[in-house]
Symmetry: D2
Amino acid sequence: MSKAKIAVNGYGTIGKRVADAVQAQDDMEIIGVAKTRPNYEAAVAAQLGYDIYTLADRVESFEKAGIPAAGTLDDMVEKADLVVDCTPGGVGESNKAVYEKAGVKAIWQGGEDHELTGFSFNAVSNYEGALGLDFVRVVSCNTTGLCRVIYPIDREFGVKKARITLVRRSADPNDAKKGPINAIVPNPIKLPSHHGPDVKSVLPNINISTMAMKIPTTLMHLHTINLELEKDCTAEDVKEVLGTQSRVRFVGQGITSTAEIIEVARDLKRPRNDMWENCVWDESITIDDGELYFFQAIHQESDVVPENVDAIRAMMELESDGAKSIAKTNKAIGL
Amino acid sequence: MSKAKIAVNGYGTIGKRVADAVQAQDDMEIIGVAKTRPNYEAAVAAQLGYDIYTLADRVESFEKAGIPAAGTLDDMVEKADLVVDCTPGGVGESNKAVYEKAGVKAIWQGGEDHELTGFSFNAVSNYEGALGLDFVRVVSCNTTGLCRVIYPIDREFGVKKARITLVRRSADPNDAKKGPINAIVPNPIKLPSHHGPDVKSVLPNINISTMAMKIPTTLMHLHTINLELEKDCTAEDVKEVLGTQSRVRFVGQGITSTAEIIEVARDLKRPRNDMWENCVWDESITIDDGELYFFQAIHQESDVVPENVDAIRAMMELESDGAKSIAKTNKAIGL
Amino acid sequence: MSKAKIAVNGYGTIGKRVADAVQAQDDMEIIGVAKTRPNYEAAVAAQLGYDIYTLADRVESFEKAGIPAAGTLDDMVEKADLVVDCTPGGVGESNKAVYEKAGVKAIWQGGEDHELTGFSFNAVSNYEGALGLDFVRVVSCNTTGLCRVIYPIDREFGVKKARITLVRRSADPNDAKKGPINAIVPNPIKLPSHHGPDVKSVLPNINISTMAMKIPTTLMHLHTINLELEKDCTAEDVKEVLGTQSRVRFVGQGITSTAEIIEVARDLKRPRNDMWENCVWDESITIDDGELYFFQAIHQESDVVPENVDAIRAMMELESDGAKSIAKTNKAIGL
Amino acid sequence: MSKAKIAVNGYGTIGKRVADAVQAQDDMEIIGVAKTRPNYEAAVAAQLGYDIYTLADRVESFEKAGIPAAGTLDDMVEKADLVVDCTPGGVGESNKAVYEKAGVKAIWQGGEDHELTGFSFNAVSNYEGALGLDFVRVVSCNTTGLCRVIYPIDREFGVKKARITLVRRSADPNDAKKGPINAIVPNPIKLPSHHGPDVKSVLPNINISTMAMKIPTTLMHLHTINLELEKDCTAEDVKEVLGTQSRVRFVGQGITSTAEIIEVARDLKRPRNDMWENCVWDESITIDDGELYFFQAIHQESDVVPENVDAIRAMMELESDGAKSIAKTNKAIGL
């Protein structure tokens, strides 16, 4: 069987990881990545062996920079079965017409609105709903992180309501422009934040309310999670349920911070020190008077990466069973 | 009437502010401050005109540093009616015997346990309970900030339960040793955190649960507050109630972060850019399905300072009415 | 004698400080400040009693924000003898025509080019050259900090060459947008940096070469200074010379960082915790084989403020002797 | 030929990297690593297949943590031909007696004094001097970074004097305790700093003087380098010389900061995103009036790692030619 031909439009934080994760699978392959600027990331992409495409009016600048383009964005789209759009939030929407015209399937990221595709994807929560779809949106890093724990807990114990604070990193590690350097920025100030409704785009029946802020760190987000449950249960019961989730990882062994979580990823020789799993401090899992509390850290650069692979597999109907796709994706990337 | 004679033991972040705030009142005065090291803070204290005392075995080191001590800690305690103990958390407890022996009243800060004094103080919540007491504990910056809003909201609308996340600055602005530089530290990891029980030391009937972390900023803490209310009310009703609180300040006018709050304090020429009030984003106050949500920022260096002054006034029975003491304290320091 | 009428165009970090410093003098007064946005800084300005002007098309937005404007920028310029332009770097240049047309004198800040005025000012270095001039540029915080120490050392010992690294704060304390959060940014990458030539705009005969970078801090810049001297001298000789400079402050007494320097300013109750002086670690002053080495910290928000006052005094010919102006300015602001 | 048996005492930032780098060579192997605490790093070490040793009184705590120790430190030392001591600075010295008693060779890191071994090592500068030695000290990350560029430039053009500022990261990425969060810390305050003499422990004839500070970043150090040269040359000449150095890497292609350098290492899938080479901005290399200027960034966690491998090879006399050892080490680790 020939592999599904996948293109990545937008080779930044998410795009470059999706490219590598797709390339690691045996049922799909990268036929090209598109980038607008011939910078160091493009140079490494070329070194890694990817065919690089760009906008028609940028071809010359790539030539000059010594990173010749294999063609234009249109050329790349034409060769693909499916495009993963990883362009910056809000930009992706304008590419829809290009993909429709070329008759290719497409995935967008969480920076776009649910309405763009009508289907918001999280592998453990609704894989089967994406089977054969043409357009799918993989939800954001924070929403992915929330769905991964709320879905199985709701299924097992019933979630009466979810009250969550998202403490967000303000810039990715390679971003030397964005701040703040020394401040806390409630964001958005108007409450509740959009993160709750975004979770409902995947899990429509959850009563969820969220508050969010940005803080001066680059490594990971931290969520404080409070869930009122329908059924009586113990912290051990919750650990058992979360313990069955391959994309939830318990952290302990003296790990006190997001910094040490990333160090584990480095020590494990994970590519780009990616921590694809939700990192839950198992010691923090507490049931008190019918309410569940815990901390989880979310690696904003990488947690959606295996989700994109699963979304491809569902849309291309390479596998009909979500659990099997998740296992296959995980194994291929070394999760 | 002669002024109450107040000594400050521990001239650091809190101690130096309490000294200035006491000195600004007309019914109490500073008769000395005690410090263990003759560093730049001691030098400025001398410049500001305070009599500096130290431990018996440190007198010589002050002499050498050109900041002669007025005497020992015991000398200072003897001259005082009341000592405000601002030594580091855990140290203060061991001073109790000294104060008892000298027959002086004493106030400790929130770093000590409730049990040390049996009375935990917050001016708006329980001023009258401190009248004439010998030993009182002024609760921590975070607990003070929580009591100031929970108490009036509970009185007006009834607080069924409080679910709060505390995002804490990791070091004060003048601390160049403590980190983290780039990490989020859930702290404590075991849940719920001690902050809830600490609020109950002042407001025993509140159902409160808290989660806390430390982050790389020095300016202020941020609280995300979620209160289930007994009575129906609107965001406007809540604003009205909080608007009556002299130690709650609404922030808006383009203020997006803790950094700009501190800039307001600087622009107002507040001493040491102190923001004694809870800073609540009024735009964030939201009622949704019987639950109240808002953000508040707490200036950890200064919010307990006026509370210490009020505690002195209650313990020395200089004023029997809490509201009058609060107004008097505020006016004297320029709040 | 009537006071010189001074207007401040651009009420941001520098503008608001210049306004207060001018207002503190007895031979000049603020007749208005101009601001483009009715934000919290404008609100405090109104509270402090300044007449606020704005651009003609912004008058309405001030009205709506409850901070009514006293008139337009043109109205303000018309009433002034001299305008201190504190608009962002590069913007100020375009205002020159406005000032010329109105026939008022004007001062610009270091973000503009030397050529805009033909005279770059530093009080201790060239006060007398500014007497009666119409247009003057007060050099940047870093250049001011360098001139203040290089000028007196050159006069006394001769500076054969100056080799300096400037480690710059990346954003001011109230700026929650700019980063980096966790990176060092050599800036500019091409060497040597423009700071050397800028010093030469004040001290044309100094052989100076500089390298600069931006780092994740907001409080102060740090300079590492290496000067080859013409004459033999000792560290004590250098301390003596710098000790005569009223705008150089020695730091010691356990001060290990820029954070503790700012704490001194806070403890001294300086407005906005401003540290107008160069802060030189006297313990760092070293002579080794004819070369002088030391560290100095520069408070980017405030060191040019007294310089602006002196520039006004020179341009308005209120005082012909630089040393007298410096002393008068210092005394009025409490330096 | 059997491989040289290497043990690593101290499995932290440097130790774990040296273990992996040794393991990647074909003429040496790791026979064990010693660690004092059974934390997450120990758990990953076990997962990576290393035999873990510990202090006699810690064996039980490893057992309890589910990471059984293979024996005591003494057991490990006995089995080794050479121990790489990567214990914290100052601790390593006390281990010398253990190694001497067991009759094994040993390498220490730059945190120890030169006198401990009498030979300070940098591969490109003095490989041959280490041939057959029993005890060697591999110099610190900063000294290594300086020797790598000063040595070849001195050999080619003659270095009359070196004037260098070291802007140092304050904590490693996985350290959530150390600060500062928002300050610059001149360190040491007394000048010149010890880094100059440390370079002279490798290159005794260089006239070098250094100033250093700590800043709030975790990723890399930055050096501003100013060298007076004996011979006339151009920036191109310097680039040519540095271009021949396999452990010097030029950075450009839009890279503006240390953050983007680390991103390159991540994109290249370097283990733990290590950047073993000095990173020199080639655009910054400038010759002005006989003086050379440039910026280089140094990855404190990893630049000494290949140096340790070379030191082992020299001491074990596995290769007599430094250039060949360097090439072999580089190739094996993927540099």
